[in-house]
Amino acid sequence: MSPTFQITVDDRPVECRAGETIAAALIRAGIDDWRTTRRGGTRRGLFCGIGVCFDCLVTVNGQPPVRACLATVRAGDRIEVGGGA
């Protein structure tokens, strides 16, 4: 079993496993939407799951958004999901 560590999702601590994607960590924690669309203001999360659709873009540590389905978690990551999720 991979080592586990914590990341912060908004202000909430979330347990995750080394080597897993941000999307996997969020969905395991019961979070399935993590951004708000520009035009309609609706919530989005994982869709294609394999790096194609970019729906799962997520803001980590205030950096430019990355695909949550590809980017792996790092200890201490601060992830912003916003919205009412």
Binding site: R17, A18, G19, A23, F47
Partner: protein, 514 residues
């Protein structure tokens, strides 16, 4: 470690079944190979896995992967294969006098550029789920069936507690079976094709007993868990308002028009949906490789018996040559690797027996792929499921009504619709909505989708988002906006297209608006 500017014999894009098989076969013959892959581990989508223990039974033909993996690792240790995981290849170009340059960014987080020069390239970029729009498909809790599978295979994470699996094709059964093995509840599998989809070609089905056995295994698994398999049915709506709470299933006819009066609602908290696959062709199209319409109306690259495309030194294997699954991809990859080695004057890729087996596998599995394509067409009756305010382009949030309006304003094809309505101009560059927009536009004009239209939709001068600074740093030798020297001029000016279509290369857009 291959030094940045050295030239390897073969650059392979994709480390799935086709790419692995091709790389290994070429390395067996003594070729120096670099393998670039978007994933973090070899295996592609089919053999996607994580660091943790796997869920028993969800990875099919795992023994085949283990065998490929051990040969792959042996070649890596011997220095014949350099493996470059988490590399997003955004361009492959022919380079004079005889070679190929592959440009990539390494790492989804803090990406750094990486260039590989090679004498030949094998493009084995696989495929992604094909989608049709329907009301509510953008709500949280709806995901591609391949995405659900990817989560399960890599992380043992299930996207819900009560999941509906819907779309068309045998892949739905594979994913439903995986979800059941993971211990989640599958509410139903909803298959748009009729129950007798395979009845017309019993012999072709019987010719691949392993596939038949796999299907029987899924049927048993569904029956044991009392999961209804609803054929001739489709999820035509996701009931929100804020996320998936239930879905509406309707009976559909062979053209997928709703047969009224048979609707039912299924309570669920997630929907995994997919209508077959779309091959990832952008690198091949930018290289100028010839493509054609395959059965089922999807665009595929043309290859000869050696898996050669129409462009010298460029080979393709797996889904880009026609969606056909992992076994076929392995066979095609091996034949490509062998042909590449031979073209470089190296022998010893495949011995005569192995080459014969690979060719027989390829023939048999391609004919089975045709049976599947015939059994699971994607007719345009899904237009009876959509509403004017249904989003067709998820990225730019373009509705069906906006596409209708663009057509009313005179847009004759999907490209014109794109310019007027912005479909396909967002982050995914039309990968998700392209086939649906083309299909809707064609239907509004009372015609079929044309190959040129799909070619145009699949053209993406930069196959992955690239920071502007990286492009600026390419220098005079690193042409980005032009096609290969021998390619015919593309419709429209490509540098113009690069600038206007793709906000994605602008680093300022790499921030999410609130």
């Amino acid at each position: 470690m291959v030094p940045e500017e050295s030239v390897v014999d073969l650059a392979v894009v994709g480390a799935g079944p086709a790419g692995l098989s091709g790389a290994i076969t070429a390395a067996d013959a003594g070729c120096q190979v670099a393998v670039l892959d978007l994933g973090a581990r070899p295996g592609g989508q089919y053999w996607r896995h994580g660091d943790q223990s796997r869920i028993a039974g969800i990875h099919h033909h795992w023994e085949t992967f283990r065998a490929l993996r051990s040969r792959f690792d042996a070649h890596r240790e011997a220095g014949r294969i350099e493996y470059l995981p988490e590399h997003a290849v955004w361009q492959v170009q022919r380079e004079r006098p005889r070679g190929v340059v592959v440009r990539a960014t390494a790492g989804e987080r803090d990406p750094v550029p990486r260039t590989v020069r090679a004498r030949t390239a094998l493009i084995a970029t696989g495929a992604h789920d094909r989608h049709v729009p329907f009301p509510g498909w953008t709500l949280p809790g709806v995901m591609a069936v391949g995405g659900a599978q990817a989560l399960l295979k890599a992380s043992q994470v299930v996207p819900g507690r009560r999941i509906v699996v819907a779309g068309t094709g045998p892949f739905l059964l594979s994913v439903a079976d995986g979800l059941l093995r993971a211990g989640t509840r599958v509410v139903a599998v909803v298959e748009a094709a009729g129950a007798r989809a395979y009845a017309r070609e019993p012999r072709a089905v019987a010719a691949v007993p392993a596939k038949l056995a796999e299907a029987v295994g899924y049927a048993v698994s569904l029956a044991r868990h009392r999961v209804p398999y609803l054929t001739g049915s489709a999820v035509v709506r996701v009931d929100g308002p804020d996320r998936v709470r239930s879905v509406t299933v309707e009976a559909v006819d062979r053209a997928w028009n709703v047969r009224p009066g048979r609707g039912r609602r299924l309570e669920c908290d997630a929907l995994a949906v997919g209508y077959g696959f779309v091959a990832q062709l952008e690198l091949l199209l930018e290289l100028g490789c010839a493509t054609r319409l395959d059965r089922g109306g999807s665009l595929v690259v043309e290859v000869d018996s050696h898996q050669r495309t129409s462009v010298e030194g460029i080979y393709a294997a797996g889904e880009p040559t026609g969606v056909g699954g992992a076994d076929l991809a392995v066979a095609e990859g091996a034949l490509a690797g062998d042909a590449i080695a031979a073209s470089l004057g190296r022998v010893g890729g495949l011995d005569g027996g192995a080459a014969g087996r690979a060719r027989r596998d390829r023939r048999r599995l391609r004919s089975f792929a045709r049976v599947l394509a015939n059994a699971h067409p994607v007719p345009d009756g899904w237009r009876s499921w959509i509403e004017p305010d249904t989003q067709i382009c998820r990225c730019e949030e373009v509705t069906v009504a906006e596409v209708n309006r663009a057509v009313a304003l005179g847009a004759r094809d999907a490209r014109a619709v794109k310019l007027l309505a912005r479909t396909g101009m967002g982050w995914c560059q039309g990968r998700i909505c392209g086939t649906a927009v083309a299909s809707l536009t064609a239907a509004l004009h009372g015609r079929e989708v044309e190959a040129d239209e799909l070619r145009d939709l699949c053209r993406r001068p930069l196959a992955q988002p690239v920071e502007l600074g990286l492009l600026a740093g390419l220098g005079p030798g690193g042409r980005v906006t032009g096609g290969p020297p021998t390619a015919p001029a593309s419709p429209g000016n490509m540098s113009h297209r690069t600038a206007s279509d793709r906000g994605t290369i602008d680093s300022t857009t790499r921030s999410l608006a609130p």
